[in-house]
């Protein structure tokens, strides 16, 4: 993966978009190995160290909530030095707002946070940076995610992943929950980022600085964690279930778990299914557009 070259900047100037999972359902669950405040203090130190590395480095933090997501910190607006107070204040405001939204439309607790939304926001920000001029820092996205995948967001997330791939923005993922995330595995795999699920979360800072602080230039020379196995399973478009096998529209490649008479996406009419599904319709690759 060769990032967009920026000649006038030195090689290691980075724009780091950090997506923090603030899902209250995840952080309050008993399975969560450590508290949100501990997590936050380690992440803040990590952000400090990124800014420390180069005066041109830029950090943007996006909070991924349960119902919404928002920018909570942008180092280019301040004096370059991370002001933890402003970040924490913004974060608090965000969490309160997120909670209010929850009351209005009570969602049944699947417990997934709005990853697709924050990914899109990060990509929008990066696009704006790309268009700001010929010289810009090299962007990358880091997802610090804990809650489980929401199959309902499958299409949106896949679309974000492909647009990240197109603009050559690697998505790094650091999974802090107890389970692997199939979405993030795919995201990092497709965009050439690093996927890591730390074994000992107490040492999160060390994981972050050792693996995720590496700028894109240095990645060419370093051995970083390789993907062990990627869960490529897709979600069906009709019931948003994660499926191993299903039906695919031969025209638009939409995925369904049951046989339909008509494709709900493009409207093509299907024939009768054969009694035995002989070919595995497991979706290996999503359309490249």
């Amino acid at each position: 993966m060769t990032p967009v070259s920026s000649k006038q900047y030195t090689d290691d100037v980075s724009l780091l978009m950090v997506l923090i999972d603030t899902n209250p359902l995840f952080w309050s669950s008993t399975a969560t190995p450590f508290s949100f405040s501990k997590f936050l203090s380690q992440v803040l130190s990590f952000l400090n160290s990124i800014i420390l590395l180069n005066q041109l480095n830029q950090v943007v933090v996006i909070a991924t909530g349960f119902n919404s997501c928002d920018y909570i910190y942008d180092s280019s607006l301040g004096h370059g030095n991370l002001r933890a107070e402003t970040l924490l204040q913004k974060l608090e405001e965000f969490v309160i707002k997120d909670e209010e939204l929850n009351k209005q439309e009570s969602v049944d607790g699947i417990g997934s946070s709005l990853l697709s939304g924050s990914l899109s926001m990060a990509l929008c920000y990066i696009q704006r940076v790309f268009r700001s001029g010929s010289i810009h820092p090299q962007p990358r996205i880091l997802c610090l995610h804990g809650s489980q995948d929401g199959p309902g967001q499958y299409v949106a997330i896949m679309n974000s992943i492909f647009s990240a791939q197109r603009s050559m923005v690697p998505i790094d993922s650091c999974v802090i929950g107890s389970q692997h995330s199939a979405f993030l595995q795919q995201a990092s795999y497709i965009t050439g980022g690093v996927y890591l699920k730390p074994q000992q979360l107490e040492g999160l800072f060390q994981y972050l600085t050792t693996v995720f602080a590496t700028d894109l230039h240095s990645r060419n020379f370093l051995q970083l964690p390789k993907p062990v196995g990627v869960d490529f399973r897709a979600s069906c478009f009709c019931h948003k279930n994660t499926i191993d096998m299903g039906y695919i529209c031969s025209v638009c490649l939409s995925i369904f778990c049951k046989h339909h008479k008509k494709c709900s996406t493009c409207g093509s009419a299907f024939g009768q299914p054969q009694t035995s599904v002989s070919t595995s319709n497991q979706k290996r690759k999503a359309p490249d557009s």
Partner: protein, 452 residues
């Protein structure tokens, strides 16, 4: 950029050449640690971050494990640099196994930074105390103007009326050393490196001057380590903010005055307090030369008929152009000149090379022509190069001359011997004289002594 020998590449090279004791002392200042870290190659930065919270020595092999085969050379460069700057302390144990540890002071300062976030060296003054502060644009103009005045002053240009709040003459002498050659009868004249200096961009010039300033500091009774730490600290101030002079100690106050003459700082006097405002020149100090963010807009247009138009009001630009072109007339915002053989010969004899002139013209090309490829017409660049090679028609080869051979046989044998080494440059068999290249002089002597 014309690469010049006279320049230390940046601050950090100077810092790394300091004696160990002073270097350790420098690391007590958190800003220096920060500046040093930022100056490191990317891989070295990463190693520092990786080892930040590791309290035991880490073996070289375990550090090496992270590196792919392609990166081995980069790895070596990074580690060497870290050791050179004494950020890494290297110990080799009995099994010849090297281990590294971060410099304790350095580590502690960086840890503090990571946990608490960066702080400013000193708080800017509240806006209500100071009178109106200059805008960033005004400040940039001020810096550029001040720097230009200084340069004009430096080259002792005849054109310059004394406009600078002149730097002390002794200081000026220090800066001029190496750039000007002093001759009693005909006044001072720019030396080769002086010309090259003028053709460099502002950042590079600044480095040279600051370097001279620092290396001369001991003579003025200022500790060079103190000065370096103050200059680095200065680069962490915010451009355009006012800082109270009371926060500085005596030596720093003197330094600040010197820097104000160079345009690094603007001094302002209020009713009660006085304060200094760092300009972009100062805050860019810790950034290495490679960073071209301060690239200025060009102003020179060269035509295929060797005429040269410079849209500039600056006297300095005029002086620089005069180095290699004939300035024909000067309008308020335009200098018209032409590149002639005579002027170029003058430039070449002063030690400027054709490549330097061409790269100067290309780098300062007016935006209108800068888009074109090439920005300077090819026939002009070719001609400049041709004129330069005209001067180098004679090729020098160090040689030795032999004559007074005792007999013709010995002479012939000597000629054959030299021919075998293909080092015979000239022979005259009648007078029995020959000239050979220096390389084989020793062999030749030995050979002749055997002949006797």
């Amino acid at each position: 950029m014309p690469q010049v020998k006279i320049i230390a590449k940046n601050f950090m090279d100077m810092v790394s050449s300091l004696p160990a004791m002073k270097l350790d002392k420098l690391y007590e200042n958190a800003f220096i640690c920060e500046a040093i870290l930022r100056s490191l190659p990317p891989l070295a930065k990463k190693y520092v971050l990786q080892l930040l919270y590791i309290d035991v020595p880490v073996s070289a092999s375990s550090l090496q494990e992270w590196v792919l085969v392609d990166g081995a050379s980069k790895h070596r460069v990074a580690v060497d640099r870290l050791i050179q700057l004494r950020v890494f302390t290297e110990t080799v144990d009995r099994k010849k196994e090297a281990t590294y540890r971060l410099n304790l002071m350095f580590q502690m300062n960086l840890r503090k930074h990571v946990v608490h976030g960066g702080v400013l060296p000193r708080e800017p003054m509240a806006a209500n105390i100071t009178v109106r502060l200059p805008s960033l644009e005004e400040l940039d103009n001020y810096a550029a103007q001040q720097w230009e005045c200084f340069l004009l002053h430096l080259i002792n240009s005849a054109e310059v009326e004394v406009t600078t709040k002149s730097i002390s003459p002794s200081m000026m002498k220090v800066f001029q050393r190496g750039l000007l050659s002093q001759r009693d009868n005909e006044g001072s004249r720019l030396t080769e490196s002086g010309f090259q200096f003028l053709l460099m961009d502002t950042n590079a010039q600044l480095w040279y001057i600051i370097r001279e300033y620092i290396s001369n500091s001991e003579d003025r009774g200022v500790d060079s380590a103190d000065l370096i730490s103050f200059l680095l600290e200065l680069s962490f101030h915010v451009t355009g903010e006012a800082y109270n002079m009371n926060t500085l100690d005596e030596i720093q106050r003197i330094t600040v005055k010197d820097l104000a003459d160079l345009g690094l700082i603007k001094l302002q006097q209020g009713r009660k307090d006085s304060w200094f405002i760092p300009t972009k020149l100062a805050t860019n100090l810790s950034i290495s030369l490679s960073d071209a963010s301060s690239r200025k807009q060009g102003y020179v247009v060269v035509e295929t008929n060797f005429r040269l138009y410079a849209y500039s009001t600056s006297k300095l630009h005029c002086e620089i152009l005069r180095l290699f072109a004939r300035v024909e007339y000067q309008l308020p915002n335009l200098i018209v000149g032409s590149i002639t053989k005579e002027n170029l010969y003058k430039a070449f004899s002063n030690g400027i090379t054709a490549d330097q002139i061409i790269s100067f013209l290309q780098q300062n090309a007016h935006p209108r022509v800068a888009e074109k490829v090439p920005s300077v017409p090819e026939n002009v660049t070719d001609q400049i190069r041709l004129w330069e090679s005209d001067l180098n028609r004679v090729e020098m080869t160090p040689a030795h001359f032999f004559d007074d051979f005792p007999s013709r046989d010995v002479f012939e044998a000597a000629c054959d011997f030299a021919r075998e080494y293909s080092s015979l440059l000239w022979e005259d068999s009648k007078k029995m004289q020959l000239i050979v290249k220096t390389e084989i002089y020793a062999h030749m002597k030995e050979f002749l002594s055997h002949q006797k």
